[in-house]
């Protein structure tokens, strides 16, 4: 029964969601609303589960003095600091002026932005070392990348902005062409491929053929 019940739930919910898309009337729309509400509850619990799991693993890491356990101390302290600030802030803890908002604006935001900003430096360094025109495909990618990079910033405006009444913008036009035709065609092909793959996988899951999500190597 440990396997049958999840399979039945998956099949029923899957079929209801497929049917209600084509027949958005009672009772299918009601079932869809009910299942969506359940999904919210499960998703909210999953966030809690993730947060508690992070806390648990970090505490174990500190207790056992695992490699880089000092970072786990920062996680635990940050976890409790944000949680306490949120709880003390009451229901409107996300509004301006609360301790939670202060921590979010002045610590969380700059730290997150810094982590992401570092990418600019590593991308530049990695491009220098790895982006080589070794063959035709790589050369095409390189040239397209160059043109889009130049067209998406102010190269045109700085180089040709003073020519003519509104300036000429060859790089922007080439970049737009690449985005609107080769990129669009490629994206559509990928999307159609993904959609077909998703439909076939979904059918396999709904029909109980694909059971790997249950775990246990079945």
């Amino acid at each position: 029964m440990r396997r049958e019940i999840p399979l039945i739930i998956t099949a029923v919910v899957g079929i209801v969601f497929v049917v209600q898309y084509f027949i958005p009337h009672t009772p299918f729309n009601r079932f869809q609303e009910l299942f969506s509400d359940w999904f919210f509850i499960i998703a909210a619990c999953a966030i809690w589960l993730g947060a508690l799991n992070l806390l648990k693993l970090s505490i174990i890491s500190i207790q056992k003095k695992r490699r880089d356990w000092q970072y786990a101390v920062i996680i635990v302290v940050s976890w409790f600091t944000m949680a306490i600030a949120g709880i003390l802030g009451g229901r409107d803890f996300q509004t301006p002026g609360t301790g939670f908002t202060w921590l979010y604006d002045n610590i969380y935001t700059p730290l997150s932005a810094t982590m992401f900003a570092i990418l600019a430096f590593f991308v530049a360094s990695a491009s220098y070392r790895a982006f080589r025109a070794r063959n035709i495909q790589a050369t095409l990618l390189l040239v397209a990348g160059f043109l889009v990079m130049m067209g998406r910033v102010l190269f045109d405006d700085l180089l040709f902005g003073s020519i003519g009444e509104e300036g000429i913008k060859p790089l922007s036009e080439i970049s737009d062409f690449i985005m609107n035709y080769p990129n669009l065609a490629g994206q559509r092909a990928i999307m159609i491929g993904i959609a077909l793959g998703t439909v076939s996988t979904a059918l396999r899951i709904i029909l109980g053929i694909e059971r790997s999500y249950l775990g246990g190597g079945d």
Binding site: Q32, D37, A113, A124, S125, S127, R132, D157, G161
Partner: protein, 281 residues
């Protein structure tokens, strides 16, 4: 060791330094250059979509991003809210990312600090509301298709849905005139198109990071998106269109110089690679 071999083995800290300088110098006050730039068709279409809305129209602004994407998306959010508030449009805020509503508060405060908007004395609950975050990704959008209240029973301030005057006649997407999605990934623009635009015929405009924007082009050409703002350029164009100049216009110059440095190094790297390879052969 020849010059080109030295170039191939250059210490990456030199690259970091040059990228850092190229990013920093253009945003220094003494280096500020007033660059005139053109507006792309996709940004213009999005702006036109907003411009068509009569005063009092309800616009749902969805903040589906977190602080790492803020340098690109926050200027778009700032310009969007300033435009909506200054044109007497009603704003409903929500987020499919936990940090989204918090990012929204930043933009709301910036917009309310604008003298022209402050003079309007906009009231929370009447002119704008922040419904907050709801877990559930695209299922939240789907639930909103039948009933907003079921997806967001309370706002971020703890007010009940029915207690908010702005939301009294808002049952589902049919009561919203425009959806403006700020997205940095999943869940984001793709989910809004697939559920809200395709199924509920919502008028949808999107603001994406530069990395994500190429994925939205098929929806733009397909007519499922009214318009699209892509990356820092899109943000700068939107600031120009709304006439609320902010950080994006200034950051565009930094990005331009950084792109130049990256391209320069890639060219040098390739020349060095081919010269040294030929020597070895």
């Amino acid at each position: 060791m020849s010059f080109w071999e030295k170039m191939l083995a250059v210490d990456r800290r030199w690259i970091f330094l040059l990228v850092g300088v190229s990013l920093l110098v253009p945003i220094l006050p003494f280096a500020a250059i007033d660059v005139k730039f053109s507006v792309s068709e996709e940004s213009q279409k999005l702006f036109d979509g907003l411009k068509e809305l009569p005063p009092g129209s309800k616009v749902l602004v969805t903040f589906d991003y977190d602080p790492p994407s803020a340098p690109e998306l926050q200027p778009m959010a700032d310009a969007c809210l300033k435009y909506l508030f200054s044109h007497n449009l009603k704003v409903i805020i929500m987020g499919l990312w936990p940090q989204g509503p918090q990012q929204a508060e930043i933009s709301v405060q910036r917009a309310l600090a604008e003298p022209a908007i402050a003079a309007k004395n906009l009231q929370y609950g009447i002119d704008y509301v922040n419904l907050g975050f709801q877990s559930g990704n695209e299922f939240v959008i789907q639930r909103m298709g039948s009933d907003f209240k079921e997806a967001f029973p309370r706002d971020t301030r703890g007010n009940g849905y029915d207690d908010l005057q702005l939301l009294r006649n808002v049952k589902n997407f049919s009561n919203v005139d425009f959806v403006f999605n700020l997205s940095a990934g999943y869940p984001g623009t793709v989910e809004w198109v697939q559920v809200a635009a395709d199924r509920y015929n919502v008028k949808l405009g999107a603001a994406n990071t530069a990395v994500q924007a190429p994925l939205a082009y098929p929806y733009l050409r397909g007519g499922q998106l009214v318009g699209l703002l892509g990356g820092m350029r899109g943000a700068a164009e939107f600031e120009k269109l709304t006439e609320f100049r902010g950080n994006a216009t200034q950051f565009m110059l930094s990005q331009t110089f950084a792109h130049f440095i990256v391209i320069f190094f890639i060219v040098i790297g390739n020349v060095a690679y081919f010269v040294t390879r030929r020597k070895k052969e």
